[in-house]
Amino acid sequence: MRRLPRRSEALQLLRSYVRSLERRRLGASAEVREAICRHIVDLVALAITTHGAMGESSLSAVADARLSAALGQIAQSFDEPGLTVAVVARDQGISTRYLQRLIETTGTSFTARVSELRLQRAFTLLTEARDGACRISDIALQVGFSDISHFNRLFRTRFGDTPSGILGRGRRT
């Protein structure tokens, strides 16, 4: 029996992978469950045997755990205006290009993913702001947009209506 130190990169990835399982509460298919089992066993094996940094490993368990950790960070901090791919890559200890490649495997880009989360949150806030002393610019800032006209443009493209249109609809109902 020996101690696997918390600084072990594989153990850090494993902890982050388990946290993401905990957050998502997957009612996963047999295929997905099997993949999760494989990833965890691979990460445990790495934690036992790897002492140095794993770099940009192509091992699926490592890549998946890195992606999961990055997506978790994005989901938690998308409303910070300063969130960039470089910030997330630095926090996860990987290169910007590698993080971009990982996120592209989900069928979207870093920017598109962050924008989608911000727009969805803005939509929710606008539809909830029925009685209110609520300004669209405040909501845009609150969800992480620092440029209001950029927010308006993206919002209209995404939802087919302007933020003020959604806000007005909410207030009328």
């Binding site: 029996m1 696997l4 918390r6 153990l11 902890r15 388990v18 905990e22 469950r33 999760i36 445990v44």
Partner: protein
Amino acid sequence: MFNLDFEPMPDTLFRSSFVPIFDALRIARSAFSPGFTFRDKDLVKDGDEAFGLVISGSRSLDITHQGRDLSLGLGDATLMHISAIGSVGSRQNFGYIDSALRV
């Protein structure tokens, strides 16, 4: 998950929580009041032969297993053989994530 027993520290109220995370590998997050979870010679007769990975959720987690003592800090981990007797605990409130791996 595993068959475990618990020995509380004297004069402490027993409290525990248990949150399953992923059934297929018996991953769960557990927390306890001061004391020790353990598997003794009777419990290991259940035939469970998996390896247990224990990730400490406490600043100090004391482990006794296969004749050795080990102390884990927050985020450290170790592997234990579930078919061997051993204990995991602390004199403070403690918690850990464990899972069972078959090889």
